[in-house]
Amino acid sequence: MGMTVIQRGVWGLLLWPYILTVSMPLDCKEEPGSLTRCPSISQEKLLDRVIHHAELIYRVSEESCSLFEEMFIPLPLRLQSNQAGFACITKTLPIPSSKSEIEQMSDKWLLHSVLMLVQSWIEPLVYLQTTLDHYDHAPEMLVNKTKWVSEKLVSLEQGVVALIKKMLDEGTFTTTYNEQGLFQYDTLPDMLESVMRDYTLLSCFKKDAHKMETFLKLLKCRQADKYNCA
């Protein structure tokens, strides 16, 4: 009980800046009456940067997953999909998973899906960092990568929000998705189980990162040439 309280406190502290930052877009606030005028970025460039972010995040998450797999997962249990009963946390999100479905999605939905994904993963990644400290021989590279990814995810979120604002002319978003509490923080008694859960976490994140990247790239194609894109 005490642990969870402290944990919640910690996470509260950690999440507190998120709540603020979520409302802050990547580019400057364009408040009426503000004296300073920030240089704003063009939509294409912003989209490119966001895609870049997503690509990088995907690549690093892939490396982290394989590192984790090598170190902690015995061979028979190595599977490309999640098993052992741990479903991906984002399973419940209404995200299409076939190309045809995705093609039918509007730009708006694409962007919103990406945002949903990003926001869902910020918290679990933070958790993952703390659990990695409990591992005996967690390689430093793995720890660094996870750390890096969670930082970049925050930036990605900012970028997507800015993109939404630019492309869809919508206002800032609140962290509606975060409040859903998709993630459970209870520590499992069994070490193997705990390891498997972490492994599942990493695998799922890898997949979702790929989703984000794909959506954004599709979006880019549509921006350039709406009718020829698949």
Partner: protein, 632 residues
């Protein structure tokens, strides 16, 4: 009843017989294994499996799959499109980012066998088709050709929309045996340049692709390309370089040839000849070994020490002429090296690797000490005054110092002195090493006579020096200096006729240079029966002094001693071959001039004791040492 039972029995037994006749056994089908699924474009995928044994009965296979998160089991929609033992999932049935749990079931009449389930996610099983439309063209970049390879992504892969991102790799090989494939990663670009081609070669090129997460495709079909020849251009550059370097080489060879002589001296210094006193190389060459070796055996050799004391001369004053530097320069030609000429032949000794300088330095150091020692010994013969001697000592020390510093010191007068004097004192004490003495002499000679370079000149030089030293020098009886060694030489060459030397046979002989061009006049005879000589200033003398070649008037011969014990010197005109000296003609040696001008360092008095006939006869010049000895 019985028939019915029999029929039933037969019926029952029939099936049993049938298998026996076939020779096989029926069994359950074998488990299908190795289920492999691949998606070429991330939109469809196909699964293949390997069937096990069929158990002897016709077996059918069925694939069932279950999507992640749902328990609904579906069956493969298409068993035929992809061939035998395969299952093709089309676009509608394919979802990505979702795991499929796939199982293959083999069914035959006897039963079913389930394979092991396999979980796949389409995203991770992408293996695209190879790239298409591979084109290779030869392009030229300022005369140097290169290959431009271009291709298209596989038809079905939707790279345009960004659905799938492909990275490419190509490989190149020369069309010959034992050549290896050279791989190049082209990233996401669809074009690549290959440089550094072999002219006239044929290349094979292939390309393949891979999604950013997935499997490499197969290599595309090979493209062949032939590179045109461009060797001639390369060759011309090489030809130019060759010609140029050959030219430079020729120039170098010519230069070396021109300077071969000096180079030879530089690289291979001449080996010094033997410096055995009394050893005559010429005699050796002529083959008369008897004479040669007999020359070595002299009655007076080694000289007894008693004589030495008699020969002591306290000091000599030597006046060094103006053209000191010239001497020095010429001396340098001799390698700065004043190898003593040795007793006889010493044509090349000067150029050997001698360390005359060191020698001199040592000597001068020793000289000082010995000087003092000598002085302490007192005048055996008697010096006229102590003053000059002291003065000389100082000078000697001065000079010795200077000499030590460098033989090239430009101070003229003083310079000669040490060379003259430094060897003197040591010699006075002990049997002189003829080499050393001669060495000193040579230096002396070099320094105060302009000597043309050349081996014989050194001999002449020394002779001259000796002579000049003689005549210019104001010496005390205690100074053995030149006389000592001259004396020794005389003794060494007792059989040698100096006149013969004068005749010019002599370049090899150290003894008795007959080149004296200074004229000295007997000034007076002092109370101690010493003949005092002083140089005669005369223009004539000067000329003769300047002209080396064969105009030596020398007073090296003593005509006789008159009743007053005055030494009468005979003037001799000597013509010698002094071709070597010719070079020094212009370096007019102003010793005579110097003599003419009265200077403090000029000899003002020469002590020349009466000399015996014997001695005079032997030497063509005044041997003061002997004279002194006789005197005492």
């Amino acid at each position: 009843m019985m028939t019915k039972v029999r029929e039933v029995l037969l019926l029952l037994l029939l099936p049993a017989f049938v298998p026996h006749t076939d020779g096989t056994r029926y069994s359950l089908p074998g488990k299908p294994t190795e289920i492999k699924c691949r998606s070429p474009e991330k939109e469809t995928f196909t699964c293949w499996w390997k069937p096990g044994s069929d158990g002897g009965l016709p077996t059918t296979y069925a694939l069932y799959y279950r999507k992640e998160g749902s328990n609904v089991v579906h069956e493969c929609p298409d068993y035929h499109t992809a061939g035998k033992n395969s299952c093709f999932f089309n676009k509608n049935d394919t979802v990505i980012w979702v795991s499929y749990n796939i199982t293959v079931v083999a069914t035959n009449a006897l039963g079913k066998t389930y394979s092991d389930p396999v979980d796949i996610d389409v995203v991770y099983i992408v293996k695209p088709h190879p790239p298409e439309k591979l084109e290779v063209t030869v392009m030229k970049d300022q005369g140097w050709p290169f290959l431009r390879v271009s291709w298209e992504p596989p038809r079905k892969a939707d790279t345009r929309s960004g659905w799938i991102t492909l990275i490419y790799e190509l490989r190149v090989k020369l069309e010959e045996e034992e050549s290896e494939w050279e791989n190049h990663v082209a990233g996401q670009q669809k074009m690549f340049n290959i440089f550094s081609l072999r002219s006239g070669g044929t290349y094979l090129i292939q390309v393949r692709c891979k999604p950013d997460h997935g499997f490499w495709s197969e290599w595309s079909s090979t493209s062949y390309v032939k590179v045109p020849e461009y060797l001639h251009r390369e060759k011309s550059v090489w030809i130019l370089i060759l010609v140029f370097s050959a030219f430079i080489l020729l120039i170098l060879i010519w230069l070396i040839h021109m300077n071969s002589h000096s180079l030879k001296h530089c690289m291979l210094p001449p080996v010094p000849g033997p410096k055995i006193k009394g050893f005559d190389k010429q005699l050796l060459k002529s083959g008369k070994s008897d004479e040669v070796f007999s020359a070595l055996v002299v009655s007076d050799f080694p000289p007894t020490t008693s004589n030495y004391e008699d020969l002591l001369v306290e000091y000599l004053e030597v006046y060094v002429p103006e053209q000191q530097e010239l001497m020095v320069d010429e001396g340098k030609d001799h390698d700065g090296c004043l190898k003593s000429i040795g007793s006889a032949s010493d044509s090349d000794s000067g150029r050997g690797s001698c360390d005359s300088d060191n020698l001199l330095m040592d000597k001068s150091g020793a000289a000082k000490e010995e000087q003092q020692q000598q002085n302490q010994e007192g005048d055996q013969i008697g010096t006229e005054t102590q003053g000059p001697k002291e003065a000389w000592e100082k000078e000697t020390m001065l000079c010795a110092n200077e000499d030590v510093v460098s033989p090239d010191a430009s101070s003229k007068k003083v310079k000669t002195w040490p060379s003259v004097f430094s060897p003197v004192t040591p010699y006075s004490l002990s049997p002189l090493d003829p080499h050393n003495s001669l060495e000193m002499h040579k230096q002396n000679c070099l320094s105060d006579t302009q000597f043309p370079p050349g081996s014989p000149s050194s001999d002449h030089c020394i002779k001259k020096a000796l002579q000049s030293s003689y005549w210019e020098v104001c010496f005390n009886n205690n100074q053995p200096y030149p006389q000592t060694d001259v004396h020794q030489q005389l003794q060494a060459h007792s059989d040698r006729n100096i006149s013969a030397i004068n005749d010019g046979n002599a370049p090899r002989n150290l003894l008795l240079p007959t080149r004296m061009t200074e004229y000295v006049e007997v000034q007076r005879v002092n109370e101690e029966n010493k003949v005092l000589l002083h140089p005669i200033p005369s223009g004539h003398t000067r000329e003769e002094a300047c002209s080396w070649v064969g105009h030596g008037d020398n007073y090296s011969k003593v005509k006789g001693v008159n009743s007053d014990n005055v030494l009468l010197l005979q003037r001799e005109v000597v013509e010698e071959e002094s071709m070597e000296m010719a070079g020094a003609a212009e370096s007019c040696y102003t010793s005579s001039i110097a003599i003419n001008t009265p200077k403090s360092t000029t000899c003002s008095h020469i002590a020349l004791p009466v000399q015996e006939e014997r001695v005079l006869a032997v030497s063509g010049y005044v041997d003061t040492a002997t004279m002194f000895s006789l005197d005492t």
